[in-house]
């Protein structure tokens, strides 16, 4: 009972501290809201249109074997697609006069990207020279997405144009293989194959790629978690460390002002006093995580997943945060030292554990490094739960983070026993 009296006093003290509440509740919610606003909900997300200037210097080429007929200008197909309605939300396109002026427009920050189609482009398509075979995407290097968007649009048109060339070349070679020797007939078959390619490519793709979510999530009818809720999880775990450190520091504070020594003179055993402190830290972070999860559900439209795994993760997270909070305090001599060193440790763990980036990266160095931290494992468990992962996929993250909690708790207890027992 005395354990709970001590815990209750610390719990009330923590939750009456406005600055502490700001760190525990307001900071994670504000940051998750800001990051949620940055990346939208996935289905209604749109970035600023890319300011694009197009210069088409292509002089065209007469169709193969038809020197007198009207020139084909393949570069026009690129400008046509860039100016089409289908990409109007992605790009704002302006026609440029010269390549030099277009480059200057990007250099001066008036455009993000310049698409420069060289004079010999059509010649290169028809295999009559290679000098003009390269369309240049001249871009502002500080931009990451916009130039890639323009590049993928232009590349798909160029691939279509080159496909027509490939069709013509294929038809010509095939005709020769079928013993057609008349050059005019070969040219005719090649031109018709190229025209047929353009028509077919525009009408319907032979192979289409459909993307969808895993069937288990779709069957259950669960919407995919939005960005804000994913960010909130990272922020929740990160700020739970700070939440645990606030009541944990009260041990040092009470030691400094003498109330801890006074407590030790009472018939209450020292272990019970420390246990009361431990319980208060655990309850403070447990309540903090429940409040944050409720805020996420009610205000951010988060869907946390099956209740069983969620409870397991909340309890596990509270244990990890409690143990870590107690360890950082157990080494320190003053509350100020505990605050500064603890903050540095938490920030470092948050950084390498992936709390600032969300949990969605599956491979690479980062995935290895994050597994060295308890919060990295907790985040992995949470990500599996919110995406509808099975219990079996959560055992490892839960057990590893629990093991971290036990080891950290043992270290903290050892140091506190040395100091106070």
């Amino acid at each position: 009972m005395r354990i709970f009296s001590i815990a209750w006093k610390d719990f009330r003290q923590t939750y009456r501290n406005v600055a502490g509440l700001a760190m525990m509740i307001i900071a994670p919610v504000v940051l998750a809201t800001a990051l949620g606003a940055a990346f939208g909900s996935g289905d209604n997300f749109s970035i600023s249109p890319v300011r694009t200037v197009v210069v088409n210097e292509d002089k065209g080429v007469a169709p193969t074997g038809q020197t007198g007929s009207q020139k084909v200008i393949y570069g026009d197909r690129i400008t046509e697609v860039l100016g089409s309605q289908s990409v109007s939300k992605l790009l704002t396109v302006q026609k440029g006069t010269t390549a030099q002026a277009a480059r200057a427009s990007v250099n001066e920050g008036n455009s993000d990207v310049a698409v420069i189609i060289p004079a010999g482009f059509s010649q290169a398509v028809n295999g009559r020279g290679t000098a003009g075979g390269q369309v240049t995407i001249y871009h502002d290097p500080s931009l990451t997405v916009g130039p890639s968007i323009v590049n993928s649009i232009v590349a798909s048109v160029v691939q279509e144009i080159d496909g027509a060339r490939a069709a013509a070349a294929t038809a010509a070679q095939l005709a020769v293989a079928e013993r057609v020797t008349d050059q005019a007939r070969i040219s005719e078959v090649a031109n018709k194959a190229a025209q047929s390619f353009v028509q077919k490519a525009q009408n319907q793709a032979a192979v289409t790629l459909n993307t969808r979510s895993p069937a288990a999530a779709a069957v259950a009818g669960r919407p995919e978690p939005n960005v804000a809720s994913q960010v909130l999880l990272g922020m929740m775990i990160f700020f739970m460390f700070f939440g645990a450190a606030i009541p944990a520091r009260s041990i040092l504070e009470e030691h400094r002002i003498g109330t801890l020594s006074r407590l030790f003179t009472t018939p209450t055993p020292r272990s019970m006093v420390l246990a009361g402190k431990y319980v208060s830290v655990f309850v403070v972070v447990l309540v903090q995580s429940v409040i944050l999860l409720l805020i996420g559900q009610l205000l951010m439209g988060a869907h946390w997943g099956a209740i069983g795994p969620v409870i397991a993760l909340v309890l596990c997270g509270a244990m990890v945060a409690t143990s870590l909070g107690l360890v950082t305090v157990s080494f320190a001599k003053t509350p100020g030292q505990a605050g500064a060193v603890g903050s540095a440790i938490f920030v470092f763990l948050g950084l390498i554990g992936g709390n600032f980036f969300g949990g969605q990266d599956i491979s690479g160095t980062f995935d290895v490094v994050r597994k060295l931290t308890p919060n990295g494992w907790l985040l992995q468990g949470w990500n599996r739960v919110i995406f509808g992962g099975s219990w079996s996929s959560m055992y490892v993250p839960l057990l590893v983070s629990l093991a971290y909690a036990v080891v950290l708790f043992a270290i903290a207890t050892l140091f506190f026993r040395r100091r106070y027992a």
């Binding site: 398509v125 496909g163 969808r212």
Partner: protein, 395 residues
């Protein structure tokens, strides 16, 4: 004026003796820069994303598709059943799973469209890269199929030979070699470099973390101000004849100096250790980091003037620093964020600081280019400074 320098000197001495202040002023920003620079660099370079393939067709066409996917550098393929793909994607053991349906090859042979299914988690960044890679292979496959069928049809019409499987097969073989050796290509060239170039991990991390931690560097002085006010030290100073403006000026000068020195250190580190080209325009750089230092100092003083407890100052500084960084594009480039977010961010000063630093590093901006963004930053400085002066009380 002399007293202002004395007060600033005392603050700087205090910080120099405080090892914990060095932790957040120097150590943590360096660790963050190093880690983020390495991580964002390695994400794009070395990691191959796992893609599982369930080939339910087992025809030459499906095997050709799998062979094309195996050649892609961005992905690492593995074989899996369709049902295992569902659970493995769900549990995030793989970045995506491609299901080739039975009848894929016969549909294509019969001139009918075929569709592939890619299972992925929509919000996963790894999955986005996998979708792009598979899509590029699909585009190439389409080009080959259409080129082959167009050629076979025309040759058949011209020679009178039946457009049967063998003719189409022959055409496909030729079309594959033609499509894989394109005569026209697309090249990306970054402005001012005449080479393919994108912002690197260290260029983003170095400038971003400089802004992220500039407010943290001022915590010691801000907390000191709160403590001095609470213990009556500032009141005692005013009683001794030191003017309010001298106390305020001393604190401000100390904060500007700390922030400037911190940024100078991080600039040198970025330039010399991480190859970030800050020295493209030293004068523009000095203008930017000086303006950022004054901005941070004004914000720090405002926070210290508004709150009465240490904890409140720490909490507000941490939240403000993180928000300033998020809204400035210090954690991620603003051009990948939503339209509204990007616009709101440019109403705040941080985004203009980052824009200017990126301009200097990547576009060789000089003094004339940074003047306009810094002018906007100074509007905020005036606002923060005015509020700080208004709220500053010695008691």
């Amino acid at each position: 004026m002399k007293r202002t320098f004395y007060i600033a000197g005392k603050e700087l001495l205090q910080i120099r003796r405080d090892r914990l202040a060095a932790l957040f002023t120097i150590v943590v920003p360096v660790v963050f820069t190093l880690f983020l620079g390495l991580i964002t660099g390695s994400m794009g370079a070395s990691s191959r994303l796992p893609l599982a393939i369930a080939d339910n067709d087992h025809t030459a066409a499906s095997q050709q598709l799998v062979a094309s996917l195996n050649k892609q550098q961005a992905i690492k393929t593995q074989t899996m059943t369709a049902s295992s793909i569902e659970t493995s994607v769900q549990d995030q053991k793989i970045a995506g799973g491609l299901i080739i349906p039975a009848g894929y090859g016969s549909s294509l042979a019969g001139g009918k469209p075929a569709s592939l299914t890619l299972v992925r988690i929509q919000t996963s960044s790894g999955a986005q890269s996998v979708v792009e890679t598979v899509q590029s292979v699909v585009v190439q496959t389409n080009a080959t199929i259409i080129a082959a069928s167009s050629a076979a049809e025309q040759v058949s019409a011209q020679t009178g030979r039946t457009a049967d499987g063998s003719l189409l097969q022959k055409a496909t073989g030729i079309a594959q070699s033609q499509v894989s050796a394109p005569s026209v290509t697309v090249a990306m060239v970054a402005s001012n470099t005449n080479a393919s170039r994108k912002i690197t991990g260290f260029e983003q991390a170095s400038s971003g973390e400089m802004l992220n931690f500039v407010l943290f560097a001022l915590l010691t002085t801000a907390i000191g101000l709160v403590l001095e006010r609470r213990t009556g030290l500032i009141k005692r100073l005013t009683a001794a004849g030191v003017r309010r403006s001298e106390i305020f000026g001393g604190k401000l000068l100390a904060m500007i100096s700390i922030a400037f020195l911190q940024q100078l250190f991080l600039v040198l580190l970025g330039q010399l250790a991480f190859g970030v080209n800050y020295f493209n325009s030293p004068l523009a750089l000095v203008v930017v980091i000086f303006s950022t230092s004054v901005l941070a100092a004004s914000m720090g003083l405002l926070i210290a003037s508004l709150f009465k407890s240490q904890q409140a100052v720490i909490a507000t500084t941490v939240i403000s620093a993180m928000l300033l960084a998020v809204l400035a594009g210090a954690w991620f480039p603003l051009d990948i964020t939503s339209v509204a977010f990007s616009r709101v961010a440019h109403f705040l000063p941080g985004a203009w600081v980052i824009d200017s630093l990126h301009g200097i590093i990547l576009k060789s901006w000089g003094i004339t280019e940074v003047l306009a963004p810094m002018g906007f930053v100074w509007l905020w400085i005036v606002l923060f400074f005015g509020l700080a002066v208004w709220r500053f009380r010695p008691e």
